[in-house]
């Protein structure tokens, strides 16, 4: 999936995370801010990278500001931000890429 513009999803409220996605020239770059980065940083990155891979995102700069989100929340916010950034809204392939 091609990232065409900057997009954001999620909030900075407790138990949520805010994910921003922007176009990049090459590769996936993931920046993470979290109060529990030492405990869960690796797991958050893993969930985010898996989600990006499943969506077929090859080039993007992604930033996650985590406020204690669960894995399912992180996945949903990454998916939503990518869909918006790829201008895919309204034609999401539920059960396909998003499952």
């Amino acid at each position: 999936m091609e990232i065409k513009k900057n997009a954001v999803a999620g909030t900075l409220e407790s138990s949520d995370c805010m994910v921003t996605v922007e176009p990049a020239k090459k590769g996936l770059e993931l920046e993470l801010e979290s109060a529990v980065i030492r405990q869960y940083g690796r797991q958050i990155r893993k969930v985010a990278m898996e989600t990006l891979k499943r969506l077929g995102v090859k080039k993007a700069r992604v930033s996650i500001v985590d406020k204690g989100a669960l894995d399912c929340t992180i996945k949903a916010r990454v998916e939503c931000a990518v869909m918006r950034a790829a201008e895919y809204e309204g034609r999401v392939n539920w059960g396909g890429m998003i499952k």
């Binding site: 513009k5 900057n6 997009a7 954001v8 999620g10 909030t11 900075l12 409220e13 407790s14 805010m18 921003t20 922007e22 920046e31 801010e33 109060a35 930033s63 500001v65 406020k67």
Partner: protein
């Protein structure tokens, strides 16, 4: 509990409540907001925040609503709205004691002074701006100008400055001017100085005289010029921009008209030398000012501006009409 995003101006009732909340939090309305987020609970305003250009400001939470995540909710709503409007670089100015809170919300320090700190929502914003600008070895100087439009007065200043350093950076203010677009102004400056070989013209981006670094310059409330806060802008230039580009001199035109610009120059006289950068104010060419040119254009007398602007500026002005 709900947040509504409102276009300015607010309704009379909303505005009154908004002012009351700001006052309760020791803030005043700077009046330059494009949109305002209002958070209400049982019809009572509990938190607010605003977006002015690329800057998040006027963030306030009612004392009895603190500690319930209201700030995070308002900031989230503003960021989401900004992105929806295509604005994804965001700045925020706050007191140093709030640094940690906004740091945990994805805002990073651009410059910190004794009583204020400017934050941006990306770590490498300033460094990638500086990285995009070529570096020169000799004595470098800088001029930051609005040039709305570029006149022979600006040309005079730049000629003088270029003659007093090996390489001169001219930074064109990137915010929307009162008459000409940032693109038009950049073109006017580039064409109007093309023959000065050691003069290099760049956009100031959002880091020199922008609504983020120096809001008072754009609010232009001349009656409060005594309160003009330009320290963030000047410190940012001294501590981060000048060292990266090896700039040791700054030049500006003398300002007889605008109290805000005059206050800015006065402050530069104090802060620049303290940071090892010389500052020189060049007397203005008589009878020439961008403001005068704009007024003549507004009153439909374009012929009269010919002796005040370079031919290249005149052509650009002709082209748009």
């Amino acid at each position: 509990m709900g947040i509504s995003i409102c276009n300015t101006p607010l309704s009379e009732r909303q505005h009154k409540e908004y002012l009351r909340l700001l006052e309760a939090c020791g803030l005043r309305d700077e009046g330059d907001a494009d949109i305002i987020a209002l958070m209400t609970e049982d019809d009572i305003l509990t938190a607010c925040g605003a977006l002015a250009g690329h800057t998040v400001k006027q963030l306030a939470v009612a004392p009895d609503a603190e500690g319930q995540g209201a700030m995070a909710a308002v900031l989230s709503a503003l960021i989401t709205e900004a992105y929806a409007r295509g604005i994804h670089r965001l700045f925020l100015c706050t007191k140093p004691e709030n640094l940690r809170m906004f740091g945990s919300m994805g805002f990073y320090t651009v410059i910190e002074t004794k009583d204020a700190v400017l934050l941006e929502n990306r770590k490498d914003g300033l460094s990638s701006f500086l990285g995009s600008i070529p570096k020169y070895d000799g004595t470098c100087g800088a001029v930051v100008c609005n040039c709305d439009p570029f006149t022979l007065g600006h040309r005079h200043l730049i000629e003088y400055a270029a003659a007093h350093c090996d390489d001169l950076y001219v930074f064109a203010v990137s915010e929307k001017g009162s008459m000409f677009s940032p693109g038009e102004r950049l073109e006017m400056i580039r064409k109007g100085t093309a023959d000065i070989k050691n003069c290099h013209v760049f956009k100031s981006d959002l880091y020199l005289i922008s609504r983020a670094t120096f809001p008072a310059y754009f609010i232009r409330d001349e009656s409060r010029a005594d309160l003009v806060k330009s320290d963030l802008d000047i410190e940012l230039f001294c501590k981060r921009i000048a060292p990266a580009l090896n700039i040791s001199r700054r030049f500006a035109g003398e300002e007889p008209f605008s109290p805000v610009t005059r206050a800015y120059n006065e402050r530069m006289k104090e802060l620049l030398p303290a940071n090892g950068i010389s500052f020189e104010e060049i007397p203005r060419l008589a009878e020439i000012s961008a403001g005068r040119v704009r007024r003549l254009l507004e009153t439909g007398e374009p012929e009269k501006i010919r002796e005040m602007v370079p031919e290249s500026t005149y052509e650009i002005i002709q082209r748009r009409s």
